[in-house]
């Protein structure tokens, strides 16, 4: 059950604060029980503490009801199963999950809802639980589609322990009816993209999949991966992003960077005797010293040089922890 006025609204907060203030005064008055409150004169109380106190008095005297709103507890859309015998292959699991999906789809369709999110929980013999949330790019109750999503994920799923139980819960939502703007594009098949991402994640692990976002740090090329989200980066037509004109040439980074050996002469790089970029250095700029994160274990430091090779290429090389790396080549 819930209070009639929505909790957290400004009016409710003000009322709560008023009630607290009245309670503090009542305590100072030596009024600590409902009985003591009920014995006070209503009019005199109203003259002193106002209508809120009168409401409290009326409740204490059984003269008013507090309006309560009936709230049904949220329905749970969850299916689970404990295997009689531990299972070690994916087939029985998939079989069970398909049944769950069919059940959930029937339940949700019956009340005109679609699945927005699925949560898969697998319990192993060592009592550990594996949990994975699947966000559905376009909410649906299409069993095949949802199953394919689970199947893709479980294809490469490995565990040291056998499975003893599985549960699947669906988080429902009303089906969306959205009209796009004239110039807005949408994904032709969001599920396909989602599936592709799932496959990539399954193949590469979760870390390298997503959208790279540059970090605000001096560390060159530092970025973090954020989950890929279609259409979140809307263009602000009033404040279009423009690229700052730069006097530096563009750098094509080697990914991954090339390890290299560099010969030094008088503490400056003189030659790169390397298989990939073997060449004499005819000019260089540097060193450029950068370091950071000295306050924890991710501390880093590098000494960068811009090197002009005899071949005409201009490369960026750096030394870090006594190892040389060619980071990229300038256009």
């Amino acid at each position: 059950m819930e209070r009639s006025d929505s909790f957290g609204s400004t009016a409710a907060r003000e009322r709560l604060s008023k009630i607290r203030q009245i309670l503090a005064i009542l305590h100072k008055w030596g009024i600590h029980t409902l009985g003591q409150l009920a014995l006070l004169d209503k009019q005199q109380l109203a003259a002193r503490l106002g209508p809120e106190a009168v409401r409290m008095w009326e409740r204490a005297n059984g003269q008013s009801n507090r309006l309560l709103k009936f709230i049904t507890s949220p329905e749970s859309f969850e299916e689970s199963f404990e295997f009689e015998k531990e299972i070690e292959t994916v087939e029985p699991l998939l079989f069970m999950l398909r049944r769950f999906l069919e059940q959930l789809a029937v339940q949700l369709s019956g009340i005109y809802l679609v699945t927005k999110e699925l949560t898969l929980r697998i319990t192993f013999t060592n009592k550990q639980i594996y949990e994975r949330i699947f966000k559905i790019p376009q909410p649906t109750n299409d069993v095949d589609l949802l199953f394919r999503m689970l199947h893709t994920h479980l294809e490469n799923f490995k565990s040291e322990h056998a499975i003893v139980a599985v549960a699947l819960s669906a988080h429902p939502i009303k089906p969306a009816r959205e009209q796009f703007g004239l110039f807005e594009t949408t994904l032709r098949n969001p599920h396909q993209l989602s599936e592709t991402l799932a496959r990539l994640t399954a193949f590469l692990g979760p870390d390298p999949v997503g959208t790279p976002v540059l970090e605000e740090t001096h560390r060159p090329d530092a970025f973090r991966m954020e989950p890929f989200a279609w259409g979140t980066g809307k263009i602000d037509l009033n404040h279009p992003k423009t690229l700052e004109p730069t006097l530096f040439p563009a750098l094509r980074r080697f990914r991954p960077s090339l390890g290299a050996s560099v010969l030094l002469e008088e503490n400056s790089p003189a030659q790169v005797p390397d298989a990939n970029v073997s060449c004499k250095i005819i000019d260089q700029r540097g060193p450029f010293l950068i370091s950071g994160n000295w306050w924890n274990e991710t501390t880093w430091a590098r000494t960068e040089w811009d090197l002009q090779l005899k071949t005409g290429e201009l490369v960026l090389a750096y030394e870090s922890e006594e190892t040389w790396t060619i980071d990229g080549i300038y256009d």
């Binding site: 030596g30 014995l39 003259a47 002193r48 540097g286 950068i290 306050w295 924890n296």
Partner: protein, 1056 residues
């Protein structure tokens, strides 16, 4: 001749969050690098210049003064001082910029630069290149727009071509060469010289970490989020000639120019040219003759008959004062003292001035140095370089402020200033800021603050363990950084405050000698140097120190006069037995200086019998003598338990008065003179080392000299060791005898008042809170134990201040009530004086109190005169709640001027009815008293619980406890003390209804119960009785919080 690189652009930590090293550190590293000279350019000031200069000169580095100016438009312009004119101009310019801004803000306008440019050298750098100043002056703004190379042309026009240098910096950062190439082109175009600097921000590379943390503090962020705000590398450290030559190998002239420019910058702070103001003497007089006249006139009044000794002393002193050129100084201090007298402000000179018969005759000090055999040389001697030190004690509060404002009035806003007080990062503040920068959870930072709360207790725990206790595991990846940073930041300046009383004044504009800025307190101007810097530079300082007890005594004397029983300090008999008896019983709560726990523990052993005993009592409880192991010998000798011996028979005349135990600084100087043949000069050096707590090195140097001199005189090694040990302990906490006498006068005077004028004394003591060792709650209880009746606050009786009703009764004033505004209380009293209140309704209509204030008054019983009891008043005051909308409370003027119509509205609600509320019980009343006043006139909370605590001893019964037995004590914690010299031991004072009991806690036990001890208001302590000479101390074994719903107490005063 080879020229060496000179760093011309370094910021010290006195750039406040923009530099990571002390100026002294920078000077030392410059010396290590064999730099011939170096410049300190702090941001918008010369805060660190003097400290830097002193250390630099000591290390043969020539100090250069400069400053980074924050210019209008956001650029930073570094300037260097070439000569005296330049320095004065810089000070004036900074003063102008600071005084028109709020504290901490300073912006120099481009249009005011030409007026102050003479004698200054400007460094044109990348910050100025990009300046598109939004200058306020229209003409100037046009020039900015019209000039092709804008800022550089302005600088050339302002400073002259030969006084503008183009500054190049190389920190191995990508992109900086492009800027440097632009600067070089500009220099070539305008025929300007290049100069290389490193823009130094710290002495050694590790200073980068401190700077990164400071950046976070400045930008209100933490290291994980600061991103590109942080430094790219650690290259802004002080670099050697070799390093800088390598960096600027392509521009050797930029290095050589540093040395050439440095040769031009010959200004030194030693040649400041400061002059103390002249005193305007009557026609026909010089300052010398006038001083002589008034001294002899004063002598006739002070002495019944001027003895030959007095005459000789005065002549000697006057001759020396004339010779040293100090008559003006004495006249000006005399003038301030006269101002105080004329305005009925109690004043008393303290410190070494009390050694001077001239000061005594001028009425500056109350101590007769001839009668007390004080050493004049301690005050003034020929070899003394600085000004004599006269400190004036004044009543704290408004009266002292009146004197300060009078000095500002006389010398102008640019002629006088308070000296600065540098607030440094200490344990808690350093840990807090570092914790925030390292992005620690606020719970850890808060817990650390709580654990090490209350006056930054000196720690017995390793820093790692402290932070571990606060919730950060020892192996946390950021722990090493925390420890490194804590050590690096501890002690660095945080911001500039104002000294509690040090004022400097000047003949000409003071703002020509040191930049002045606004203090956060309105009407106050503060100099950029602290008192030690001013003393080093020969700028005379007059200390106007506020003493709460002076205020108490002056108030008490006024109350005595009002009651027809006039009394003043000069007429208090010096041999009052009752006063001494009270001291012997350690009944000294509220008495100046001898009220602390340590003093109270010594008094029964010391048993003062005459005034000089009080002088010794004041001096004996100092950290110095404790550290030097000197207290016990004196007391033991006094009690006859130990024979009277001297370090050496030659010292008998020096140490006889203190039974062979050196207690005063004067005795130290005499010992050095007798045992090591120290000359006046050397004794002065020793005195400065003793009082100059800043430098341990200085002390070691003078001690080595003393040792060598004694060895030459064949003093036995064990005697030398003893003498050196006692002198070293004084270095930390030196206490001159003259100072002890000045304090003893106040201690004795306040004790006399407590014995003979108790109501006036207690009323004044309560009126001047907070002050002293105890809270008002303890003072009220002490007054009650002295059979004084303390009447509770009452709207029909009380004034703002506490008043005396009769010889046995004090009426509490509204000043003890929390959250009652003074102007409201005064309006209440004024309304009552017009016509007495006839009912609560009448009171509410005529006195414009806010609802909360009314509630508070009702709760504490101040409205009982209108209602039967507190709750009845509480019931009645709520009646007008809804009329708040009609008459907004707190607006006095509206109320007073248009009260009639509102009166009717307010009076309209139903007539007061009998309250249906229950009467407050006694515990409820005590609780309400503490909640509203932090004190109670009713029973002590412990009395209410006494029956339920049968095993707990009362404070009054403790002397009966058997030594060595185990007992329990309990009460309200009124004081926790952990003296720095007590090796981690903690003293806790617990108050109950009968008095105060004391316990001592060992360091291990303290660490075990740290939070209980520092946070709980009531404690129950079990321990072993240590009873000697009726001084009882409980050696704690067990400690636990005493919790009960009825227990509400006052807050503790915590000390180091």
């Amino acid at each position: 001749m080879t020229v060496s690189y000179v760093e011309l652009h370094a910021c010290s930590a006195f750039s406040f969050l923009r530099g990571g090293s002390f100026p002294e550190q920078l000077a030392e590293v410059a010396a290590e690098l064999e730099m011939p000279a170096m410049a300190i350019l702090d941001r918008n000031g010369v805060y660190g210049a003097q400290r830097f200069s002193v250390t630099a000169r000591e290390h043969n580095v020539r100090p250069i003064v400069g400053c980074e100016l924050s210019m209008e438009g956001g650029s930073i312009l570094p300037v260097l001082v070439e000569n005296c004119t330049g320095y004065k101009n810089l000070c004036e310019l900074l003063t102008q910029a600071h005084l028109r801004s709020e504290k901490g803000q300073c912006v120099v306008r481009w249009d005011e630069l030409p007026r102050y440019a003479d004698g200054l050298i400007a460094l044109f750098n990348a910050s100025v290149v990009n300046c598109r100043a939004s200058v306020s002056d229209a003409n100037f703004s046009r020039r900015f727009a019209e000039t092709p190379y804008k800022p550089i042309k302005i600088l050339i026009d302002t400073f002259g071509r030969e006084n503008v240098f183009v500054e190049l910096q190389r920190h191995f950062i990508r992109g900086e060469e492009r800027i440097n190439r632009g600067l070089i082109d500009l220099a070539r175009t305008h025929r300007l010289s290049l100069v290389a600097t490193n823009g130094t921000k710290y002495a050694k590379p590790y200073g980068r970490e401190v700077m990164d943390v400071f950046t976070c503090i400045r930008e209100h962020t933490h290291l994980d989020a600061a991103g590109k705000l942080l430094a790219q590398n650690a290259e802004r450290y002080l670099k050697s000639d070799r390093q800088m030559r390598a960096i600027f190998a392509d521009l050797p002239e930029a290095i050589e120019n540093t040395s050439r420019l440095a040769e031009r910058l010959m200004f030194s702070l030693e040649k400041l040219g400061y002059e103390f103001p002249e005193y305007p003497v009557p026609a026909g007089h010089t300052m010398d003759s006038f001083l002589r006249t008034i001294v002899w006139f004063g002598a006739q009044q002070r002495y019944a008959a001027i003895s030959a000794q007095v005459k000789r002393q005065l002549e000697e002193e006057l001759a020396l004062i004339t010779k040293l050129g100090f008559p003006g100084y004495f006249l000006i201090v005399w003038d301030i003292v006269n101002f105080c007298r004329e305005h009925n402000i109690m004043v008393q000179g303290r410190g070494s001035a009390a050694n001077s018969a001239v000061c005594f005759c001028l009425g500056i000090t109350p101590v007769d140095p001839v009668e007390n055999h004080l050493v004049f040389e301690r005050f003034l001697n020929e070899s003394r370089k600085g000004w004599p030190d006269i400190d004036l004690d004044l009543p704290s509060g408004d009266r002292r402020e009146a004197v300060i404002q009078e000095i500002y009035r006389r010398y102008g806003k640019h002629g006088a200033a308070m000296t600065a007080n540098v607030i440094s990062y200490r344990g808690r503040s350093a840990a807090r800021e570092i914790g925030k920068a390292l992005n620690f959870a606020s719970s850890i930072i808060d817990r650390f603050s709580h654990l090490f709360a209350s006056g930054d207790f000196p720690h017995t725990l390793e820093l790692e363990s402290q932070i571990e206790q606060a919730g950060l595991p020892k192996n946390h990846p950021r722990m090493p950084a925390f420890i490194r940073l804590y050590r690096a930041i501890y002690g660095l300046p945080r911001h500039l405050g104002q000294h509690s009383g040090g004022m400097i004044i000047c003949q000409n504009k003071l703002s020509s000698f040191v930049p002045l800025e606004n203090a956060s307190m309105p009407g106050r101007v503060v100099a950029q140097w602290d008192k030690d810097d001013c003393e080093d530079l020969g700028i005379v300082k007059v200390d106007l120190l506020g003493l709460g007890m002076m205020s108490v005594m002056q108030d008490a004397f006024e109350l005595c006069r009002e009651r027809g029983l006039p009394l003043d300090l000069a007429h208090i008999p010096k041999d009052d037995q009752k006063t001494f008896e009270m001291m012997q019983h350690a009944d000294t709560i509220g008495v100046f200086q001898i009220e602390s726990r340590a003093q109270m523990a010594t008094l029964p052993r010391m048993k003062p019998e005459c005034f000089y005993d009080v002088v010794i009592e004041v001096a004996i409880i100092r950290p110095g003598p404790i550290q030097g192991d000197m207290v016990h010998p004196y007391l033991a000798r006094r009690a006859g338990h130990e024979p009277l011996t001297y370090f050496d028979p030659r010292l008998e005349p020096v140490l006889k008065r203190t039974l062979g135990v050196p207690l005063f600084q004067e005795q130290m100087l005499k010992i050095a003179m007798v045992m090591a043949d120290f000359s006046g000069d050397e004794a002065e050096e020793l005195r400065r080392a003793l009082s100059f707590h800043r430098s341990e090195e200085r002390m070691n140097k003078v001690c080595a000299k003393l040792r060598a001199a004694m060895e030459r005189k064949d003093v036995a090694p064990d005697k030398i060791d003893k003498i050196i040990q006692s002198i070293s302990s004084f270095a930390l906490y030196g206490f001159p005898e003259s100072h002890a006498i000045s304090f003893a006068i106040l201690a004795y005077g306040s004790a006399y008042l407590k014995v003979h004028r108790a109501p006036e004394f207690y009323a004044s003591l309560l009126n001047n809170q907070p002050m002293g060792f105890y809270t008002p709650a303890t003072i009220v209880k002490d007054a009650q134990r002295h059979r004084l009746k303390i009447k509770p606050v009452c709207v029909s009786q009380s004034d703002w201040r506490c008043t005396v009703v009769d010889d046995k009764t004090v009426q509490l004033g509204f000043c003890v009530v929390n959250a009652l505004r003074q102007e409201h209380a005064e309006e209440l009293v004024s309304q009552r004086q017009n016509r007495l209140f006839d009912s609560l309704k009448d009171f509410k209509c005529r006195v414009p109190l806010a609802k909360d204030e009314l509630r508070t008054l009702a709760e504490l019983g101040a409205l009982n005169c209108f209602a039967g009891h507190r709750r009845a008043a509480m019931w009645d005051v709520e009646e007008t709640m809804h009329d708040d909308l009609v008459a907004s409370p707190g607006v006095i003027s509206a109320f007073v001027s248009n009260s009639k119509p509102q009166k009717q509205v307010l009076a309209a609600p139903s007539a007061s009815t009998t309250s249906p509320l229950p009467v407050m019980t006694l515990p409820e009343r005590v609780k309400a008293d503490y909640e509203t006043m932090n004190l109670t006139t009713g029973p002590h909370p412990m009395k209410l619980l006494r029956k339920s605590l049968p095993n707990i001893w009362r404070a009054i019964d403790l002397p009966k406890a058997r030594h060595g037995s185990t007992i329990q004590i309990g009460g309200n914690v009124i004081c926790r003390q952990r003296p720095g010299t007590a090796k981690g031991f903690v003293f806790i004072s617990l108050e109950d209804e009968t008095g105060v009991s004391n316990a001592i806690v060992e360091p291990d036990l303290f660490e075990q119960f740290r939070l209980v001890i520092t946070e709980e208001a009531f404690l129950l302590i079990e321990g072993e009785v240590q009873n000697s000479d009726n001084v009882v101390l409980i050696k704690t074994r067990q400690i636990r919080p005493l919790t009960h719903e009825q227990l509400v107490g006052s807050e503790s005063h915590d000390f180091r």
